[in-house]
Symmetry: C2
Subunit: 372 residues, 2 copies
């Protein structure tokens, strides 16, 4: 049989060579298409500049969301939908930087996760600017020093970021997008710590709760000590020999700890939500959310009156948070997220019904649902 005489490695080598040539050919085509895409993006910028030199807006959140959703719908594989969308995010990011580099302020120090969120949302080509406080991110956007800001809003280990909510009450800045980051918990300790001799595990109370099953199975004898934050846990462990902390990867780098075990969270969908803020109003993308602040008088049935129109007009509420009113005059302030855009007919009906009973209704923005 002549076939069996052919050594497999020779046939394999021939196939590898062919595959490489095919990849080179594909790369050439991808190169040309991305270049044509960039050319189109430049032309879009020219047309916009000609039409309105002062006010031309190059970044359109609803358009980006549509492109990414379509890519995910049509993706034939073998790359995962999210992987493919991330690649298109970068292609759009590079094309946009060609029109005009996007500048984005974000909550700096503790929140290196916030910078990660900014890069995830805008791609690697965005210029990010760290700010020391949430209200300074708002101010920077308000002053036009940057086009957008990124602030944390919900954190599965720390709960809602109240400071962000409060800043919205007094600001005219809009929400133009949202982004989620999956956050993993790792067990970490100093380089001299022996895993078998760990007697204490520090972390934020919610992180300890989220890793309960793992701790029960692998460290049943270790005492669990709740501290203010995961970063605080990591900092403490630095100076102790028999202790470990549960925290994110960034904390292990900051405090020079070794990761003993990765991803020990019981539920794999531990995530933090961030908002993209800006001065512009966003068009419908087809899959949108809207955020509101509503002030209600503190009287019987107030909450029922607030919620009824959502139900009446088929508007799907996804979140409701109450906060004491900053003016303090016996009113409640509610933060509400729902599915839909203020240009949708049922949303408009619900809003006008709410406006009849509420002291004040402020739309923080309609924006595309986070795609990635």
């Amino acid at each position: 049989m002549s076939e069996s005489n052919q050594t497999p490695s020779k046939a394999d080598e021939t196939e590898l060579l062919q595959l490489r040539q095919e990849i080179d050919q594909l790369d050439q085509e991808i190169l040309n298409l991305i270049s044509r895409r960039a050319q189109c993006a430049l032309r879009v910028a020219e047309v916009k500049m000609k039409a309105d030199p002062g006010q031309a807006v190059f970044y359109r959140p609803e358009r980006e969301a549509q492109v990414l959703s379509r890519v995910m719908e049509r993706n034939p594989g073998p790359l995962g939908n999210e992987d493919m969308a991330r690649l298109f995010r970068e292609i759009m990011s590079a094309c946009l930087a060609l029109e005009r580099p996007l500048e984005v302020a974000y909550l700096g120090p503790e929140g290196t996760f916030t910078q990660q969120a900014a890069k995830k949302h805008f791609g690697q080509w965005v210029k990010t600017k760290p700010m020391p406080a949430i209200d300074e991110v708002f101010r920077e956007v308000d002053a036009g020093a940057v086009q957008y800001g990124v602030v944390p809003i919900e954190n599965s280990t720390e709960g809602v970021v109240n400071h962000t909510l409060d800043t919205f009450i007094t600001s005219n800045i809009k929400i133009v997008g949202e982004v989620e980051l999956r956050i993993h918990h790792h067990l970490m300790a100093g380089p001299n710590t022996n895993r078998d001799k760990i007697t204490r595990v520090y972390s934020h109370q919610q992180s300890l709760a989220q890793c309960r099953k793992w701790l029960d199975a692998h460290m049943p004898q270790a005492e669990r000590i709740a501290v203010n934050s995961n970063a605080e846990a990591a900092r403490r462990v630095q100076g102790e020999w028999n202790s470990a902390a549960i925290a994110g990867e960034m904390a292990s780098e900051l405090y020079d700890l070794e990761i003993i075990e990765t991803k020990i969270e019981d539920s794999p969908d531990n995530s933090t939500r961030f908002l993209i803020i800006g001065a512009q109003e966003v068009d419908t993308s087809g899959a949108d959310k809207t955020s509101l602040v509503v002030s209600m008088r503190n009287e019987p049935g107030a909450l029922y009156h607030l919620l009824k129109p959502f139900n009446d007009f088929g508007v799907d509420m996804t979140r409701l948070e109450s906060r004491p009113s900053p003016s303090g005059n016996w009113t409640y302030v509610f933060f509400i997220d729902f599915v839909g855009h203020t240009r949708d007919a049922n949303v408009q009906e619900a809003l006008s019904a709410i406006r009849k009973t509420a002291v004040e209704v402020k739309v923080l923005g309609s924006y595309p649902k986070g795609v990635l």
Copy 2:
């Protein structure tokens, strides 16, 4: 004139719509081509696994360098060559993760820049693992716990990273690649510091030197104080009211400082070089470098004898560093980088000439020159 009757905004809108349709069409084609590329990559992995299930190597540094160089050569614009190469880096990174996710150890804490270098070299799909010390990065690669490591080798503010050099002397790990990061210097201070009242500027001596012109022009009255590192400068400024630090963006985040002025370095090409280390030997890419360690006896003319063969055989030396020998027996150790691959004829001739006079010659690796 009928043309002038047509409002420009209507014509513009039509063109914008057409451009968007064209972009959507291009995206569809790009999507299909990237998917076909991923399919090819998967098939490559299958063939390699069939041929050599235990030892199959999926990441080929010379092949990646070739792809990126070709992309940059053929790039028709308008995207810059580096931008286009970064996009292809991500496409390759996503395809490679499909075959088998790449794991890379890097020097952790101080060197968050090192992680940045790892992502720049391997793309966003790589899994990075922080290690507390350079020799632990080597050990992790040696043990096969990760496929590659990333360590700093030259830093324009700190000079050569001697610890990395020394570790190569005793290790069998090879250099498989190099990557450069451009590093910017910013002036930063605490949030309560008034720019006009700054009387002291802290930084590493070399950073102060690199920002001399800017300091002369804008802060001639401020005292310049050299400290151990830029991170140390940032840490100090935290507690002082009239002081500023010169450091990188990461330091401002870590120590909660505000950036007063960005990119104050006199020369814009301030950069840090990192090495990619691994167990494999790398084929020629066509644009390679080689690194050597040579031990010489301390006798008259030793350095001349070492350098002459490079000149004789037309080998272009790019770096020469001398270090005291760790064995301490009156020998010198030289670290040499030159252009070329150990498979090149002239390199082989030069090496055999050097071997005649040197106590020991150790090739640390031939690897593709950094493309990005």
